[in-house]
């Protein structure tokens, strides 16, 4: 019967063609609004008021079915292995969500007097202590909403410090490795600096010679990612730090990859001046399909006066308060940061303790290396050495020999039940496959992933067509991204009906 069966599958609905706006029917409602039985105050003048607003009209059941069906068209860490390099997609303990949503935390008003928010403030204070201990940097600002926001904070702090030193006019350059995440140069530019790219040496670390020659009195800072985006330790970073200090510049650390070294080495000890962390990666707060996150900045005493507003201060009266550092770069958000995320991160830190955090980095690194050896030989490994949190393979061989691109390999992984790794980053590795299993993937999952990758390597030799057309089993096939960009359709524009 098999051959006939596809015919027996009724045409699958074009689910994406109908938005909530195209469902339901006029007059339907998901919730009612309480009536106003008091005296009616006349509304403001008509020219201040709006005409009809176009929004979907669905019953509650209709709306719930629509979004529930949408959720089924998503893949999360609870669905399976999600080895996005640089993104540290680890399992998120559910208890963290639970405690963050306790009514006492959830209903706290951001303008509350400190007496009415001590529970939150003390929790943040202890998180701050923990982050200072873990990074070896004494001062911490919790305001940044994400990693890039933390980068902006850090670079602006350096800017203001240079201003106070009277060297801001002179120091207009920031050195950024060619392996850096895009947010690094983008941030430098947002802060008004020129970006000079530093090449990566054959050992996967910064090319020392270039640094030495570029390091002059026009350099404001060097932004380094440790461990770097190749999953490798930045060799001799502590000496580089020394050079930078001598040159009168600052060493900025991108700490998004903290997961590999938690509890094993500290940025402060190595000579970093300021570092941002991605708590939504290393500290396991769920990523939510693109946030919210939290990107605290940790820095030296020298830079502490420049931290973004607010910072925490414990008064003699035992009350924790929010204050503005004297030379603060100012606020980064209207209020105090992504507090809900910070509480999750605190819960995560308390559940693990030092022991646990060291176990995390240990297992994360072990898993990455286990994957490295399992896949070894089947894909090119440009930097063929033990790695830390992630390993970056290259699809060049598959491309050269079989015309199969990393893009195809990624799509084929979907058919094998996995979320693909990060691809085409870092830019210095062609056809890059950047794989970060994280510590929460069990050995059998890493083995299954490696087997899938090996099977795909074989498929790329035997049946490249299958890879070019993949995925075959996803809710949708490959999408036309070119047309999407050429003729952008970015919002509902009115359409048919029926819930």
């Amino acid at each position: 019967m098999s051959p006939m069966r596809p015919a027996r599958r009724p045409r699958s609905e074009d689910f994406g063609a109908r938005l909530s706006f195209d469902r339901g029917a006029p007059g339907r409602r998901a919730v009612d609004v309480p009536p106003w039985d008091g005296e009616r105050t006349p509304l403001p003048d008509a020219h201040l008021l709006r005409d009809e607003v176009r929004l979907p009209e669905l019953s509650q059941g209709g709306l719930v079915r629509y979004y529930t069906a949408l959720s089924a068209r998503n893949y999360g860490i609870d669905s399976g292995t999600y080895p996005l390099g640089s993104c540290t997609m680890k399992y998120n303990p559910k208890v963290d969500d639970l405690v963050a949503s306790l009514p006492g935390f959830a209903t706290a008003h951001p303008q509350s007097p400190p007496e009415e928010a001590q529970g939150t403030l003390r929790t943040l204070l202890e998180l701050r202590h923990g982050l200072a201990e873990i990074t070896g940097l004494p001062a911490v600002g919790l305001a940044p909403a994400a990693g890039a926001h933390g980068e902006l904070a850090g670079v602006l702090m350096i800017t203001r410090a240079l201003e106070d030193r009277g060297e801001l006019e002179l120091r207009r350059r920031i050195l950024v490795p060619d392996s850096a995440h895009g947010t690094n140069p983008a941030t430098a530019a947002m802060a008004g600096f020129a970006v000079t790219q530093i090449p990566t040496g054959p050992d996967g670390s910064l090319d020392r010679a270039t640094i030495e020659q570029e390091l002059d009195e026009t350099v404001a800072a060097v932004m380094v990612t440790v461990p770097n985006t190749l999953g490798l330790w930045e060799q001799g970073i502590e000496e580089v730090a020394e050079l930078i200090r001598e040159a009168g510049a600052y060493l900025y650390g991108d700490g998004a990859n903290l997961n590999a070294i938690m509890g094993r080495v500290r940025y402060g000890d190595l000579g970093f001046d300021v570092v941002h962390l991605n708590l939504h990666k290393s500290f396991s707060t769920p990523h939510g399909g693109g946030g919210p996150g939290a990107g605290p900045v940790c820095c030296t005493q020298e830079l502490a006066p420049y931290l973004p507003t607010p910072v925490l201060e414990e008064g003699a009266d035992g009350l924790v308060r929010l204050v503005a550092p004297e030379r603060s770069i100012g606020r980064l958000q209207q209020f105090h940061g992504n507090v809900g995320v910070l509480i999750r991160a605190y819960a995560y830190m308390r559940a693990l303790g030092l022991e646990g955090l060291r176990a995390v980095s240990g297992q994360a690194v072990l898993n990455a290396n286990y994957l490295r050896v399992l896949m070894h030989g089947h894909y090119d490994l440009p930097y063929d050495r033990p790695v830390l949190h992630e390993v970056v393979f290259s699809g060049t061989r598959q491309r050269r020999e079989h015309g199969v691109r990393t893009y195809d390999i990624a799509k084929r992984l979907i058919d094998h039940g996995f979320h693909p790794p990060t691809v085409y980053f870092p830019l210095i590795v062609e056809e890059a496959l950047m794989i970060e299993p994280t510590e929460t993937e069990p050995p059998e999952a890493i083995e299954a992933f490696a087997e899938a990758m090996i099977a795909i390597a074989e498929e790329s030799a035997e049946d490249p067509e299958t890879l070019h057309g993949a995925p075959w089993t996803a809710p949708l096939g490959r999408l036309d991204e070119a047309t999407a960009a050429r003729r952008p359709v970015l919002r509902w524009q009115g359409g048919e009906d029926g819930e």
């Binding site: 979907p56 006492g104 203001r160 000890d269 606020r331």
Partner: protein, 432 residues
């Protein structure tokens, strides 16, 4: 595994780390099991004000009635535990909901295009100023008072890096040829409803863009800024997503006119089709993808429109569900209910001997209260009676703000809280 990896212990995996600094002494509190952790944080949460305490603070964060399905749907783990949707074939949930969000934001703001959301209203407004500076090639911006001080401060922070001057103005007419944009808040920081059209005209007359910072909930009732001539609309979506959580996570709405599309910061989701027909036949199906990425940091790097990467997707989703659950009539009704309840409360306060509620024109949900005692005293007296007063704005320049507190009453403020407030104010008045 160790064996297969070829090391005899975990330590060996960290051999690259400089020996001198390896395994430092780190002081952290001991591990807690789940029951211990829950007990600790329940105790902490109890260290905040009782959630049932009457609280009249607004000033940027407002108590809203959130439909129960918002939390229900937003907690679906397929949404919660996904990353930014880099693989559209298995990320349609995140992508299509983001497209719903963009559509809702465009409808509310009267704008042509929206991104998927930024960190919060203040950073979104700062990005709006940077966009205005880029397109006008001017390096000053004008912020119209009264504007939220937090918003103004964040604009200054971003402007500092970009070398942009920030002027606080008290009238649209102060917008000059130096200004890349005029920024006005709706309702303004002291609660008044602004007439945006003349402001837009003033800005445009000076060759500047007009940026409206609008409360999306108020837009259920108030004129869409787009109709009034705004070029960019920003706003705060947090209050319609859920509880304030001491101010965050939030989501910054950012919508603009079509011509600024390629200058927009942040992620944008576009609608497209499959490249091929599905295996079981039929037409290529509709799908959603991250698009116009040439604007973004991971491609453009130092020439990107912004450095933003991770934003606030899950909050944007909750915001979208709430607005769609209310629907066109529900949103209007809720906004009107808020307006009516706030005005009824203000009238009761103003009717108390010794109290006045000075108005600065029509207003929405926040009103100024001046009492028989100084603002600080009034606030303290209320606190002593278990009530959290409105924000003390007595240090502001506006004459109506002199010795005044800024009270917020919304559709979600319990009647009992208003009654308690009136009683307490009367009592304080009697003793004054």
């Amino acid at each position: 595994m160790l064996e297969r990896v070829g090391v005899e212990d975990l330590a060996a995996l960290f051999a690259d780390l400089p020996a001198a600094y390896r395994d430092p002494v780190i002081e952290l509190p001991p591990q807690l099991t789940e029951p211990e952790l829950i007990a600790l944080l329940e105790q902490r949460a109890a260290g905040n004000a009782d959630p049932g305490r009457p609280n009249f603070l607004g000033a940027g964060a407002y108590r809203r009635s959130i439909p129960s399905i918002a939390a229900h749907l937003t907690s679906r783990s397929e949404f919660v535990t996904a990353y930014t949707p880099y693989q559209p074939e298995i990320s349609q949930g995140t992508l299509q909901t983001a497209f719903e969000y963009q559509s809702v934001v465009c409808e509310l703001s009267g704008m042509d295009v929206s991104n998927t959301g930024l960190y919060d209203v203040a950073s979104a407004t700062a990005e709006a100023c940077l966009l205005a500076a880029r397109v006008t090639k001017r390096n000053a911006v004008a912020l119209l008072e009264p504007i939220h001080p937090g918003t103004a401060d964040v604009v200054r922070t971003y402007a500092y890096g970009a070398g942009i001057r920030v002027d606080l103005v008290t009238s649209g007419d102060e917008t000059t040829g130096e200004h890349a944009c005029l920024v006005a808040q709706q309702p303004d920081f002291l609660g008044a409803i602004a007439d945006l059209e003349p402001l837009a005209e003033a800005a445009h007359a000076a060759g500047a863009l007009f940026v409206a910072v609008a409360d999306p909930f108020a837009l259920g009732l108030l004129r869409a800024p787009g109709d009034a001539g705004a070029d960019i609309v920003t706003g705060e979506g947090r209050d319609l997503a859920g509880a304030p959580a001491y101010g965050g996570p939030s989501v910054g709405l950012f919508a603009a006119r079509q011509q600024y599309l390629r200058q927009m910061p942040g992620r944008i989701v576009g609608r497209t089709k499959e490249l091929e027909a599905p295996p079981d036949g039929g037409e290529p199906r509709t799908g959603y993808v991250l698009t116009l990425q040439a604007r973004e940091q991971f491609i453009r790097r130092e020439r990107a429109t912004s450095n933003v990467s991770t934003a606030q997707a899950l909050i944007a989703l909750a915001f979208t569900v709430t607005v769609q659950a209310l629907g066109p009539r529900g949103l209007r009704e809720a906004a009107e209910l808020c307006y009516q309840r706030a005005h009824a409360a203000a009238a009761r306060v103003a009717a108390l001997p010794g109290y006045e509620a000075p108005e600065r024109g029509p207003w929405f949900q926040e009103f100024l209260v001046r009492g028989p005692v100084p603002a600080a005293t009034l606030s303290a007296e209320l606190a002593a009676r278990g009530i959290t007063a409105g924000l003390d704005v007595s240090d502001r320049a506006e004459p109506e703000a002199r010795e005044a507190l800024l009270f917020a009453v919304t559709e979600a403020t319990p009647d009992a809280h208003v009654a308690a407030l009136i009683e307490a104010l009367a009592e304080i008045g009697a003793q004054a």
